[in-house]
Amino acid sequence: MSDATLTLTPPQSVITPRVEIDGVYGHDPRMLISMRNIWKTYQMGTESVHALHGVSFDIPRGEYIAIIGPSGSGKSTLMNLIGCLDTPTQGEYWLNGKNVSEMDDDELARIRNQEVGFVFQTFNLLARATALHNVELPLIYGGIGAAQRHEMAKKALSSVDLTERMTHKPNELSGGQRQRVAIARALVNHPSILLADEPTGALDSHTSMEIMDLFERLHSEGNTIIVVTHEHDIAARAHRVVSIRDGLIEKDERIK
């Protein structure tokens, strides 16, 4: 497997320059996200299935990027790796100056808490908790004191225009409102990246547009946003689109 590192395919990204160290393409320390030769292999019985084989790309701070691909392309695997829910079988992943590819479970939990804000297709809010408490949850695990926590959570909710709905539970909110609670939860810790997985998949087209407008606004405020989707019109709202097919980057283009 170490051969693969040496016989690295040339970088596909045309947007950011590669950093080459000792003849091997290493990570670029200037980038927020820097992935090099990422492999993810699953053991299916006796067979090895490569979900990703040798993906390398960089994402600078403040970018709005869409990762697009059909189901089974490896885009979910890539998203799990970017979100630090999983580690690559091989390769290097640097997030905000930290090599997360070799971290253990608890270190990854720490990184997810501090660096990643997740937005899921099905919102994934705690049903029994109020909007405010849902937003506070990452701060609880981050060890933030109660008073400061309330303050931060309220601010995050007001930034998605949900000040009025703070004490409501998810089942008392509309789909769009739930997703905005989820976005507030993702943003409350001021993470390095906002990672959205099919964020409009469970919403009607009107609400979808509202959520995408919100993403645009958050991007203009300086957030780094990564949207994983299979819908082209959602991807088209991003400034850069990375297409995944068969575990490889097929296309990486700046569209805005």
Partner: protein, 420 residues
């Protein structure tokens, strides 16, 4: 060790989640609690009751004092049929035996004799049944018995020897014969014991009751009078008191020697001394062995119900983990570490069992209160047993919650998020 590095906020969050989930599944929570409640209730009730009895017993026997022992024909506690038959073959213990002991035993302080009969006592049309008629001699028997006069007087030595129908009554007689009249009203009155008239000289101080039996339902009469009425050939009990407990052994040895000389070995039965010499240890030992058996049984019952309760808790926690796989996934995705999840479920398990323990402590004390009120002994609420009850059930919670919590903690976040 586990809690180190955990923020207080995370622990509070875990507790909040635990109580919310317990509230959300009330019936399930109630069923889960049952085993723990039964176990803790049993322990608390029994410990409290026995502590109350202990105090009663200690007070009762200290009023007579551990400086007293008795010589009698039949032992006061007969442990077997053989013992009963054997003791019935013995010669009666008589006044002469008491006199011999008095003469010979240098370590003895007070020697007295007493014999009991159960009679119906009447005053005018009032009647008291099952009254203990206690014939005693000499006057120091009142001191040996630990009773003292409240109103009126005890008979004099010469009155005691005269065989006259005079008596000193226990306070229950006031209640049963004199309609709760003041004690001085009874003094000078004439009561009838088995049809014979007796003059009331005095009323005793109340002693209270033990195990529901009143110790004040008694009439003291001089032994000479008792003998006249019930015959002289009835076995009596010799009471011997020493100055202090360290003389008890010497006195017992001396008394034993006197009695052996007077009895010899009966009917070739070399195992039998022909008399029973007993200290209050006999009662205390019997009481001690009875209560220790009760303790053992209770601990057994409690252990079984706590183990069963623990298994139920473990089962419910496993269900809870399965049901909340998605929630665990969400929490992990936003930064919960293994120990955060582990703590959350452990706290949930401990919350259930500690709650069960607390309820058990409450019902245990309640049960003890009812029983103590019925039987009549003091209720001693021990903080230590309450703490122990809740503590032990919390430990049950930790033990039975550990495995489910560990399963939750090591769930893969991606898999968990996929769950419905």
């Amino acid at each position: 060790m586990l809690l180190r590095g955990l923020q207080l906020a995370a622990i509070w969050e875990a507790f909040r989640v635990a109580t919310a989930s317990l509230r959300a599944n009330k019936l399930r929570t109630a069923l889960t609690l049952m085993g723990i409640i039964v176990g803790v209730t049993a322990v608390i009730a029994v410990v409290t009751i026995i502590k109350g009895l202990d105090q009663t017993v200690a007070q009762t026997f200290s009023s007579q004092g551990s400086t007293v022992f008795t010589v009698s024909k039949n032992p006061q506690i007969i442990k077997s049929r053989e013992e009963f038959i054997r003791s019935n073959r013995r010669k009666d213990v008589l006044h002469e035996d008491a006199e011999a002991i008095q003469r010979t035993c240098t370590a003895c302080w007070r020697v007295g004799i007493a014999a009991n009969a159960i009679e119906t006592v009447k005053y005018n049309d009032q009647k008291a049944e099952n009254v203990r008629i206690r014939g005693v001699d000499p006057l120091s028997m009142f001191d040996i018995d630990g009773v003292s006069i409240n109103v009126g007087r005890i008979w004099t030595e010469s009155e005691g020897a005269s065989g006259r129908e005079i008596c000193v009554i226990g306070p229950d007689m006031l209640k049963n014969l004199f309609n709760d009249a003041p004690a001085d009203r009874a003094v000078g009155q004439e009561i009838r014991i088995d049809g014979r008239p007796y003059l009331v000289l005095g009323v005793l101080e109340p002693l209270g009751s033990i195990f529901g039996f009143s110790r004040d339902n008694v009439v003291y009469i001089p032994y000479s009078t008792y003998q006249k009425t019930y015959g002289s050939r009835r076995s009596l009990v010799v009471f011997i008191q020493v100055h202090s407990t360290d003389q008890l052994e010497t006195a017992e040895d001396q008394v034993r020697t006197v009695m052996r000389n007077r009895r010899g070995h009966l009917n070739g039965d070399t195992d039998d001394e022909g008399f029973a010499l007993e200290t209050q240890d006999v009662f205390l030992n019997l009481y001690g062995s009875a209560t220790s058996n009760i303790y053992i049984v209770t601990i057994g019952v409690a252990a079984i119900s706590l183990v069963v309760g623990g298994i139920v808790v473990m089962n419910i926690m496993l269900v809870s983990v399965t049901e909340r796989t998605k929630e665990i996934g969400i929490r992990k995705a936003i930064g919960a570490r293994r120990k955060d999840i582990l703590t959350q479920f452990l706290i949930e398990a401990v919350t259930v069992t500690a709650l069960g323990g607390a309820i058990g402590v409450g019902t245990g004390f309640g049960l003890a209160y009812i029983i103590s009120a019925l039987i009549g002994f003091p209720l001693l609420v021990s903080v230590a047993s309450a703490v122990l009850g809740v503590g032990v059930s919390s430990v049950v919670g930790i033990v039975s919650g550990l495995w489910p919590a560990w399963r939750a903690a090591k769930l893969d976040p991606i898999e968990a998020l996929r769950a419905e």
